[in-house]
C-alpha cells in the first residue's frame, strides 16, 4: 500500500511539474526545457509531446524575431519612411512654389504655362537616352559582332532609322516645351 501511495505522490509531483511547464509555455517563456522521465507511462509521453511543442514554438519564435528585424516593413521603418515621405513631399511642393516664383519674375503672366510644359521633360530625357545608346552602343555592337556582312548592313540601316526618328522626336518635344 505504502508503495502505491508513494507512486501516487510521485505521479502527483510529475503532474504538477507538467502543469508548471504548460503554464510557463502559455506565458511565452520558451527557454526552459520540460522535465522528462524515462518511465514510459502516459505522463512521460505527455512530457515528451510538450517538449516537442516547446521546441517548435521556440524555433518559430526565433525565426519570427529574425524576420521582423530584417523586414523592410517593420513598424519603425514604416514610421521612418512615412516621415521621410512627408519631408520629401514638403520639399517638392516648396520647389514647385519656388519655380513658379522664378518663372513669374522672368516671364510674368506666362509663368503658369511654363511650369505646365514640363510634362514633356520625361519624354525628352527618354529620347535623349535612346539617341545616346543607339549612337554609342548598338551600332558598335553590330560592327563588332560576327554576323554576316549583309545582315550587319541591314541592321545598321534599321538602327539609323531609329536614330534619326529619335533625334526628331527629341527636337519636336523640345519645341513643344
Amino acid at each position: 500500500m505504502a508503495g502505491g501511495a508513494d507512486q501516487l505522490l510521485i505521479s502527483k509531483k510529475r503532474l504538477d511539474s507538467l502543469v508548471v511547464s504548460i503554464n510557463r509555455i502559455a506565458r511565452g517563456n520558451l527557454e526552459k526545457r520540460v522535465i522528462q522521465s524515462k518511465d514510459g507511462d502516459e505522463l512521460s509521453k505527455l512530457a515528451s509531446s510538450l517538449e516537442t511543442l516547446r521546441k517548435s514554438l521556440f524555433k518559430k519564435n526565433k525565426a519570427g524575431k529574425k524576420e521582423a528585424a530584417s523586414s523592410p516593413l517593420n513598424e519603425d521603418k514604416v514610421l521612418e519612411l512615412e516621415k521621410m515621405n512627408k519631408l520629401m513631399i514638403g520639399r517638392e511642393l516648396k520647389m514647385i512654389e519656388l519655380k513658379k516664383e522664378i518663372a513669374e519674375l522672368k516671364h510674368g503672366k506666362s509663368a503658369e504655362i511654363l511650369i505646365d510644359d514640363s510634362r514633356f521633360s520625361d519624354g525628352i530625357k527618354l529620347e535623349e537616352s535612346v539617341v545616346e545608346s543607339l549612337e554609342n552602343d548598338y551600332e558598335k555592337l553590330i560592327q563588332k559582332s560576327d554576323l554576316n556582312k549583309d545582315h550587319k548592313e541591314l541592321i545598321i540601316t534599321k538602327l539609323q532609322v531609329l536614330l534619326s526618328d529619335s533625334k526628331r522626336h527629341e527636337q519636336a518635344l523640345k519645341d513643344l516645351s
Partner: protein, 67 residues
C-alpha cells in the same frame, strides 16, 4: 559564338523594352488634356514608337536567323 549571339539578342531585347516604355509614355500623354497641336505631335511620335518596336523585333529575327 552562340554566347555572343545570345548577348546580342539580349541587348536588342533591352532596346525593345525602352521603345515599349516610350510608346506607353506617349500613350499616357495622349490621355491627358493637351492641345490639338500637342496631340498631333505626340500621336506621330507614338506611332513611330510602335514602328520602332516592330523594327527591333525584325533585328532580333535577323540575328536569330544566324544562330
Amino acid at each position: 559564338m552562340m554566347e555572343g549571339r545570345e548577348k546580342l539578342i539580349q541587348s536588342f531585347e533591352e532596346l525593345f523594352a525602352i521603345e515599349k516604355k516610350a510608346h506607353d509614355y506617349y500613350e499616357k500623354i495622349l490621355q491627358q488634356n493637351i492641345s490639338d497641336h500637342e496631340e498631333e505631335v505626340v500621336l506621330a511620335i507614338h506611332n513611330d514608337e510602335e514602328r520602332h518596336m516592330k523594327i527591333v523585333k525584325e533585328i532580333i529575327q535577323i540575328i536569330e536567323s544566324e544562330s
